[in-house]
Symmetry: C2
Subunit: 235 residues, 2 copies
């Protein structure tokens, strides 16, 4: 089966790690788990697992996500692989990082063996994580920031009905504009409506102590067309 000497390379393991982004309360949140097993038992970490022998990488990542959140058919994108020789104390472990976008409204935590707890954390409160997971998280957030300028994937993070202010806050939370060039409300609305991706539901917010905002939903068929034709979207 092996060329001479080749078998000495078949001693590595592959994991996938998921940076699961959600949006709540005007902030981007990340779903972290408290590790239930060594190494780094008790530390916060990205949800991840070994890729099983018969699994493609994308499949492994989707499986981890499903085991933890119960969700499938979720936006999932491979970001980067990390392979420092000493990144894992048990041996040579290369990890393939993915990020996914989920609607927190859909979220219900699943019982899952390998995590003794899971929690949404704001980007600004991220503690020191197990392994090189802080570095992985940074790479994934950067990728999200770049991706959102070029594809309207932000919708993946919003509930089915949302207001234009929700959408603007989401872009604000992802792009983190400096205070001197915060996103202009009128220009943002003009641009987003010109894309013709939103459907006006002719419904209003209820129970707010101010003028109620109109609710929109997102038009997936137009979205698909736009993604295919590969447009550019800058806020």
């Amino acid at each position: 089966m092996f060329e001479f000497g080749e078998e000495r390379f078949f001693t590595s393991a592959i994991t996938v790690d998921n940076v699961i982004f959600g949006f709540d309360d005007g902030e981007i949140k990340i779903l972290l788990i408290k590790r239930g097993t060594t190494p780094f038992k008790g530390k916060w970490a990205l949800p991840g697992d070994f890729a099983h022998p018969d699994e493609d990488l994308d499949f492994a990542s989707a499986r981890v996500l499903k085991e933890l959140t119960g969700l499938s058919n979720v936006y999932l994108e491979q970001v980067q692989s990390f392979g420092h020789p000493n990144r894992h104390p048990d041996g040579r472990v290369i990890t393939v990082a993915y990020f996914s976008l989920i609607k927190i409204s859909d979220f219900a935590l699943q019982a899952s063996g390998w995590a003794s707890g899971a929690q949404w954390m704001s980007l600004k409160d991220i503690p020191e994580l197990a392994f090189d997971h802080n570095e992985i998280l940074d790479a994934c957030f950067s990728k999200l920031q770049r991706r959102v300028r070029v594809q309207p994937i932000g919708f993946e993070l919003l509930p089915p009905k949302f207001t234009l202010t929700d959408l603007q806050q989401l872009y604000h939370a992802i792009l983190l504009p400096p205070p001197d060039k915060s996103i202009d409300k009128r220009n943002f609305r003009k641009k987003i409506l010109a894309m013709d991706l939103l459907i006006d539901l002719n419904e209003l917010q209820e129970g707010v102590a101010h003028r109620p905002a109109k609710l929109y939903r997102f038009d997936p068929s137009k979205y698909r067309k736009l993604v295919e034709s590969g447009f550019s979207f800058e806020v």
Copy 2:
């Protein structure tokens, strides 16, 4: 060392595969090798190797490049990992794909053990390759196309002195614009000179049967500043 059962995952191998881009004669070329060992002995393939136990992925990719071309300090970017369970007949092998940009003028093929031959091939003449290397190549070329719109890395492919027409042909070869919207010469020059990345060498081409073009070189210090401030460049 291992958690119970964990050792069954330490049976994979990691490789790196490099898509080495060059530019010559108005075309993007890729450096392929003819495999000297099984599997796929005698087939064309991307240059690649197993990541050694003590090597980071970036390092392994740079080593492959150096062994094959003698070059170091080359533009090298991780693109994507590929891990179909059956992509390698000898076992579970995940590969991490990189692309690199080299100046063909710097290139001198090195004798290297694992390739019985290496050759530059035009994108349009790529044969069926070993493993899933056609798929890897496509992903890397797409990434190059996206990267070049946002960072002026095209210069990495040109000789130290070049004309504006060389540069335009390079962009043409990467972006492959449809015939109805080919790159406009005047607008291209205006834009590229406005970026203030080129130094006019006050030299002219020699020995051409037409008006000789001015030669330019590229200013790496201004380039670094631009890359840091993260600009956007669309042709």
